[in-house]
Amino acid sequence: MIMRLDRIGLLAVPGLAFLAVIYALPLVLLLFKSVQGVDGLTLITYIDFFGDEFNQVVLWRTLRVALLTTLLALAIAYPTAFAMARAKGIWLNVFLVALVLPMSLGVIVKAFAWSILFRSNGFLNTSLQSLGITDEPIRMLFTETALIIGAANVFLPFMVLPIYTVVRQLNRNLPEAASSLGATPWFRFTRVTLPLTLPGVVAGSAFTFSLAISMYVIPSLIVGERQQTLSMLIARSFLYLRNEPLGSTISAVLLAIAIFVVLFSSWLAGRLGARK
């Protein structure tokens, strides 16, 4: 077989080199620590990690929060993407600015703004009480619900944009063809619009889930130490406990989940796109 160097392929070399040195190498060194025992390689840290009931609770919570965040973001983003795809001129700009501008604000500003909204004497609670819907303030801050709402807000652009891209490319004659062939709006949506926009949904969900499973700042600010997530455990292991093997182990678990999500979503996207 003749080795043939694609000259265009050479353009990827700087990026690959950068990733190899700055991302892959330190990651491998870090992960190596998780299996480095006193006398050779060991899986003891993994056995310890998964054996600990507290860790199981945190792992499950991390997965649950990431999943619910993804679902909430999806529920809001999906119809929004259609409105955006239909929007023209000034309205499209309004949508894009509304999506992108909050990203530049930073999570910390948002988190403190939310606390004004969510706290017991905050805007939401005073409104609910003055409307007579509730008698007492409801606990909102420091709850998993607040975390999910906050995270979905921060990650919303990562869900909207991939779906928007797919919806915008959707041939508008396709739903029309479906209608003229006798399809009710529901049949048309489930058999044409939804299947054709699923690749965007998969991509957006993979982005959002990956971001949500590894988020650190948002839970630190919204729920604090009360309800830890895997990322917070990692930080605690390295910063306070000085337990590098534990921190590396949790990192490896998180990485495994992320790799699974990426592989699964690209497999799913490939399956969905296979017939095109």
Binding site: A178, S179, S180, L181, G182, F187, R188, P195, R275
Partner: protein, 364 residues
């Protein structure tokens, strides 16, 4: 042929009846008081330049666009308030709009499945429809693997398998190359005729409209200028627009200077030209002559003009002579076969029968 506005066939031929349809976008009227009738089994074209409202009319009939006022009646059923999916009108789109996530057979089955037919019950009619368009060998292929002509066949099969009351085709041949286009036109026309399908083609291509239709509605600025058989449109265009849009012609502008017994004598830049018309002296007019009706060997009773040849185009089956254009006038003559006896720069006398002169009064 002035004032021939009978777009309306006798009542017993009324199958599709478009009554007083009006539509405007953002305050600008696209069409106003559109009336249009098609008989059962008829193949009709809406022919006109882009922006004339032909696609708008098609979309209103299909239910993809809501008219501001007016009614669409099909086979005695008023469709005006029905959504597209309840009209039983199939549409073949310009880009075919095949569902990219479905196979050829799944695309064709779509309409039946949407109507609640089970997969098993749909198999037979789908296979028949694919056989009809000679695409049965491609049933399980993804539609992206098909050529333009094959995609069009699938789109037609998909539209016909549901036995529509009316078939609408929006520029169905424009994405095909010239040779394939003609083959597909012949094929599709035969198919629709055999099955007695009533169909409306939307097109900007006069050859296509002439080739596939029983009648053609020539549209301009939201109005039907003339609705007639192709031969009538060509031989007796009702307006300068129709004369220009359907076929080529030698065109002369002038003014009627004499009216005698139904023959108007028109003074033009190239001399007097007679036409059968009752137009009074003083009327500004536009004259037209179809190029194949002009002869370079005129007889005495013919209209005669002297033309300097600007170009001689030998096209094989015919030779086209272009005269030097003066002002808005243009000179075009077609002779059959290859003619080597005419040269550029030569001055020749052209003639044509008085009855072959098309004449239209124009605003002064």
């Amino acid at each position: 042929m002035q004032g021939q506005a009978s777009h309306l066939p006798p009542n017993e031929h009324r199958y599709l009846d478009v009554i007083g349809v009006a539509k405007s976008f953002k305050g600008a009227a696209i069409m106003d008081q559109m009336n249009f009738r098609v008989a059962k089994g008829e193949l009709v074209s809406l022919l006109g330049p882009s922006g004339c409202g032909k696609t708008t009319l098609l979309r209103i009939i299909a239910g993809l666009l809501q008219a501001d006022t007016g009614d669409i009646v099909l086979g005695g059923r008023n469709l005006s308030s029905l959504p597209a999916h309840k009209r039983n009108i199939s549409v073949v789109f310009q880009n075919y709009a095949l569902f990219p996530h479905l196979t050829v057979a799944e695309n064709v089955a779509f309409g039946l499945r949407a109507r609640g037919t089970s997969k098993a019950d749909a198999a037979r009619p789908v296979a028949d429809a694919l056989a009809l368009v000679r695409m049965d060998a491609f049933a399980d292929r993804p539609v992206s693997a098909l050529s333009g002509g094959q995609q069009q066949r699938v789109a037609v099969a998909r539209a016909l398998v549901v036995s529509p009351d009316l078939l609408l085709l929006d520029e169905p041949f424009s994405a095909l190359d010239r040779k394939l286009r003609e083959t597909m036109q012949i094929e599709l026309k035969a198919l629709l005729r055999n099955r007695g399908i009533t169909a409306i083609f939307v097109t900007h291509d006069q050859d296509e409209a002439m080739g596939v239709s029983d009648r053609i509605a020539v549209m301009n600025k939201g109005k039907i200028e003339q609705f007639a058989e192709p031969s009538t449109l060509y031989a007796q265009p009702a307006s300068p627009f129709v004369m220009d849009f359907v076929g080529l012609s030698t065109r002369l502008s002038g003014r009627v200077t004499e009216q005698a017994g139904g023959i108007a004598t028109v003074t033009t830049n190239v001399g007097p030209v007679r036409a059968r018309s009752g137009l009074a002296a003083g009327t500004p007019v536009l004259l037209g002559v179809r190029p194949e009706l002009i002869t370079p060997d005129p007889t005495a009773e013919m209209n005669q003009i002297s033309v300097q040849l600007d170009d001689v185009m030998t096209l094989g089956s015919k030779t086209v002579l272009h005269g030097a254009t003066t002002d808005d006038d243009n000179f075009l003559c077609e002779l059959s076969g290859i003619r080597t006896d005419y040269k550029r720069g030569q001055t020749v006398t052209w003639g044509w029968a008085v009855d072959d002169t098309l004449i239209h009064a124009v605003p002064a």
